[in-house]
């Protein structure tokens, strides 16, 4: 186990606070739309830059830490930017900029109401997502986790229709329940250990746990973070929450919220329990079982959906479990695959959601059965869609292939060949539920006249950019943000082994 070099730096704190600081500015400039959105984007850019400044340190295993004050005895409100955290933070904050630009186009295009509320809560969400990424201990994690829960609620019910309010209720019911389990789990862990810091390799390692403690505790944790990660029996809020505006679905339900759940699983398995305990009590098998079920059932359910966003939602559910699966395999290769999939799935899925949103804003179409022939109307959009769907199916050269490859390799390493079959089957299912969309839009004749051209640039540019990112990362995974090295660094911290 190589010890990381810890230094004090307030940058993680600033990164969390910057979008929070934007909230009053956004509210104050409610009347002036351009200024308001300037604040949003400015905050996004500043945040992204702040996170990027942490990148070199994280690559060299130097962890920026900031300790604020004790929030409960022995536990401080503390942030640290280790490799895993920086990884997640880069993904979330980077995509926030794109989403902000896209949101502007989306909100203005639809003439949505209460845009100020929308943008301010969005900023809060991002703040708490970065907080989750940088949380140095479980209490800080829970703090931001719950804030995220609450801050997402106004976004989910943004439309204020009956359906949206129902979705909001369901969302709250699930996520608050999850939060409650997480609190219980944290309390129990504290009781065992008197400490809740995230330690690479496991906080509980070296503690004489019994199966009677470890297994229920693990289940509590899974119930806690699994809701947001939408592991199968806890998933049903996610399709319902698609009632939210599309940028919300894009960023929150493809990146921030659900990835926060998955990130939580990584934190719990690798930093609280640690690989040794996970394997010792067979906890990783529990994860694998859940993940496999979710992947297969989620993909199958996605096939049935006609609503485009719902199909994407089920696809998200399935893909989140890829990450969980990678965690469950408990090999460094698979974990790298998991981490990479956090980033890569984000770029791909956000592209898809952006496309869905663009189609909705531009043509007011939500269902797959109505998409005939729109490829000619919106070639850029549908082109990006195609790229992303190829990636999700795990076909090179898009980045989805890389993460899947590492997952498969990890499975093979640990001799769990059945899992490779699962991955392949799921890839086929991916093809099965994405190809009809691509097929309909490009190769079927629609009754739509071709008088209409492509959607607004504010929407098209982000989605093309994300599609390009997916392609670029597929070819050069270390470009820009050294995702691969970062993931490798993170995994080294956990497994202590040499770089694969």
């Amino acid at each position: 186990m190589n010890m990381s070099d810890i230094y004090t730096s307030a940058v993680p704190l600033y990164a969390v606070l910057v979008s929070l600081a934007a909230v009053p500015l956004i509210i104050l400039s409610a009347k002036r739309q351009n200024l308001r959105e300037f604040w949003t984007i400015a905050a996004g850019v500043v945040k992204f830059i702040l996170v990027l400044t942490l990148l070199p340190g994280a690559l060299e295993n130097r962890v920026a830490t900031v300790r604020l004050f004790e929030i409960t005895p022995n536990i401080q409100l503390a942030l640290k930017a280790d490799a895993v955290g920086v990884f997640f933070a880069i993904v979330a904050s980077g995509l926030w900029i794109l989403t902000s630009i896209y949101s502007i186009g989306y909100m203005r295009g639809l003439g949505e109401h209460k845009q100020t509320r929308y943008f301010s809560y969005f900023a809060v969400c991002l703040s708490s997502t970065i907080g989750i990424a940088f949380a140095a201990n479980l209490v800080t994690f829970i703090l931001f986790y719950e804030i995220l829960t609450i801050a997402t609620y106004p976004l989910v019910i943004h439309k204020e229709t009956k359906e949206a309010i129902y979705a909001g209720r369901k969302y709250l019911a699930y996520t608050l329940t999850g939060g409650v389990f997480l609190i219980a789990a944290a309390a129990w862990t504290y009781q065992l250990n008197g400490n809740l810091d995230f330690v690479p390799g496991g906080l509980l390692q070296g503690l004489a746990l019994t199966a009677g403690t470890a297994v229920p505790l693990f289940f509590l944790f899974i119930a806690g973070v699994g809701v947001k990660a939408s592991i199968m029996p806890l998933h049903s809020w996610l399709p319902t929450a698609m009632a939210a505006p599309t940028p919300v679905s894009a960023l929150l339900h493809a990146v921030a919220v659900v990835k926060a759940g998955v990130f939580g699983i990584i934190r719990v398995s690798m930093f609280i329990f640690g690989p040794d305990i996970m394997v010792q009590f067979g906890l990783n098998r529990i994860l694998i079982v859940f993940a496999v079920i979710t992947i297969l059932v989620g993909s199958l359910l996605a096939l049935k959906q006609d609503n485009l966003k719902k199909r994407l939602a089920y696809s998200t559910i399935a893909h989140l479990s890829y990450i969980v699966l990678g965690v469950g395999i408990m090999s460094s290769t698979a974990l790298i695959g998991s981490l990479l999939h956090i980033a890569f799935h984000a770029t791909m899925k956000i592209t898809l959601f952006f496309c869905a949103g663009a189609i909705y804003v531009h043509l007011h179409k939500e269902n797959i059965s109505e998409l005939d022939g729109i490829g000619k109307t919106m070639p850029w959009t549908l082109g990006a869609f195609t790229v992303a769907s190829i990636g999700l199916a795990g076909i090179p050269p898009v980045n989805g292939f890389i993460s899947k490859w590492y997952l498969g390799a990890g499975a093979a390493d640990s001799g769990q060949f059945l899992l490779i079959v699962v991955l392949v089957v799921s890839g086929i299912l991916n093809v099965a539920y994405f190809s009809p969309i691509v097929h309909r839009s490009f190769f079927r004749k629609g009754q739509e006249q071709e008088t209409q051209k492509e959607a607004k640039p504010a929407m098209v540019i982000p989605l093309v950019l994300t599609a390009c990112l997916s392609l670029v990362f597929g070819l050069f995974p270390n470009l820009f943000f050294s995702f691969f090295r970062l993931a490798a660094q993170a995994v080294t911290g956990i497994f202590g082994g040499p770089l694969p």
Partner: protein, 499 residues
């Protein structure tokens, strides 16, 4: 002189104010409010300085009449009592600032003088209960505070006297039980002083008399604190009392009973007795747990906001009872912290209800809609803050009391209780988000309703009502983030000896 008499000062200030208000009102009626406010301010300052003093130099015993304890009556200023008086007086100060305007609306002019005098006497009683080290003196002050409370309830709306009467009957039964318990204890030990009895009890050993005395005292306080299933009086009393009364009694009134149980169980009889010899602590936890669930479920089905808050109080009281019953450090810290936290939350929510009543003339959840938010943005924001705290979202205070209680239940390995705590926070979410949905997202359903709202002009309530509400709402977050200071600085010292 003031330093020497500091322990007794707080109740005496209130008593003096209570006596002087009827006299001063002969000349000038409006002076009543200001005397009350001044007395509360003074005793807040004194009680906070008492906390600092006690933390510096340890517990103080104050002998009335100069007679040492077994002979005379003593006040004991230890960290627990100092902390609780500070909590009570601080919250009351804020609530009283708010009360000025709403009392003007809800209570006729010639009734305000005795009303404020009663408020003062009620507070005198509460502080006396907390500070006293003598069982019978506790009874006297218990009756002062209860009687004043009956009066404060009865002056409410048309149905208030009935609620007050039922409360009176229940309260008298409770007081009677307590007195009988004191009687048994006295016959058995020959003393009335808490510290003395604490010394005597282990010598005398277990005896039916002691067990019954303990049960009767707990029953008595259980009625006063509205512990399930002895809560029958509470919902009506809270609903029909004037807003000022309910926002004083909700954060403070029932806590007195909780304090009594805490003091008797853990400080007089001792942890070993109440958990092993006669497991009344466990019984208490189970009833509390039942109360938590019952209160939450009943709260969901209420249409009147104050009534809903009343049921929610029953549930929250359960938390305190549960923490006490766990009889381990975390449980006690959680319980005492929750006395503060719940005080803040409930005060905030009742002030919000008061603001609604002030502006709308009602606080019917059915009639809430989003015009409310447009008219009273700050009040509704305070409500949202209070609701989040009740649900237990970090970093509000509600989370931390739950956190310590959860730690307590885990330490005792009582998984069912842990589940109850967690479940109840979900139930809380159900009934609070129901209102939040209405306030924020429900448009007026009918034209008529809309017109009605239009007709009631005026926007936010006056500053003297708004600022206390917002101060409390802010306190929910500040005290949440800073709870370690309280826990480490005060509550760790609160724990009974032997922990």
């Amino acid at each position: 002189m003031i330093q020497n008499n500091a322990p007794a000062l707080v109740p005496l200030i209130f008593l003096f104010a209570g006596i002087i208000i009827p006299l001063a009102a002969l000349k000038l009626r409006s002076s009543a409010y200001f005397i009350a406010l001044g007395a509360t301010l003074a005793s807040t300052i004194v009680s906070i300085s008492n906390v600092i003093f006690v933390l510096d130099s340890g517990p103080v015993r104050y002998f009335f009449g100069g007679w040492p304890p077994p002979i005379g009556i003593e006040y004991v200023l230890d960290p627990l009592s100092a902390f609780l008086t500070a909590v009570i007086n601080g919250i009351t100060l804020i609530v009283l600032i708010h009360a000025g305007k709403i009392v003007e609306k809800e209570i006729q002019e010639h009734r305000r003088v005795p009303y404020y005098a009663l408020v003062m006497l009620f507070l005198c009683g509460c502080n006396g209960i907390i500070l006293t080290g003598d069982f019978f003196n506790l009874y006297v002050f218990l009756e002062i505070s209860s009687l004043a409370l009956y009066g404060m309830v009865a002056v409410g709306d048309k149905k208030a006297p009935i609620s007050a009467f039922r409360y009176l009957i229940m309260g008298t039964v409770g007081g009677g039980f307590y007195l009988l318990g004191v009687g048994f204890l006295y016959v058995h030990t020959g003393s009335l002083n808490m510290a003395d009895i604490k010394e005597i009890l282990p010598v005398l050993g277990t005896n039916p008399v002691v067990i019954v005395a303990l049960s009767l005292m707990v029953l008595g306080f259980g009625i006063k604190m509205a512990l399930f299933p002895l809560h029958g009086w509470l919902p009506d009393a809270y609903t029909h009392a004037p807003s000022a009364s309910s926002s004083i009694m909700a954060p403070i009134g029932v806590k007195i009973g909780a304090y009594g149980i805490l003091r008797i169980l853990l400080f007089v009889f001792g942890i070993k007795f109440v958990t092993q010899v006669f497991p009344i602590a466990q019984i208490l936890t189970w009833f509390s747990a039942a109360g938590i669930i019952y209160g939450s479920i009943m709260a969901i089905s209420q249409d009147e906001m104050k009534r809903m808050l009343a049921y929610s109080s029953i549930s929250q009281i359960g938390y305190i009872g549960l923490g006490i019953g766990l009889a381990n450090p975390y449980g006690i810290i959680g319980a005492v912290l929750h006395i503060l936290n719940h005080g803040l939350m409930k005060a905030c929510l009742f002030l919000v209800a008061g603001n609604f009543r002030m502006k709308l003339g009602h606080s019917n959840i059915k009639n809430f809609n989003d015009t409310l938010r447009k008219k009273m943005p700050w009040t509704t924001a305070a409500f949202a803050a209070g609701a989040l705290a009740m649900v237990g979202i970090p970093p509000t205070v509600g989370f931390f009391s739950k956190w310590y209680l959860a730690l307590g239940t885990i330490e005792n390995k009582s998984w069912i209780l842990l589940a109850v705590i967690l479940l109840s926070s979900l139930l809380n979410a159900v009934y609070f988000f129901r209102i939040i949905e209405k306030i924020y997202f429900r448009s007026p359903s009918s034209k008529q309703e809309e017109k009605e709202h239009q007709s009631r002009k005026g926007t936010e309530v006056a500053a003297s009502m708004l600022i206390p509400t917002l101060v409390l709402a802010g306190a929910l977050f500040i005290f949440g983030l800073l709870n370690t200071i309280i826990v480490k600085g005060v509550l760790m010292k609160v724990l009974p000896p032997g922990m």
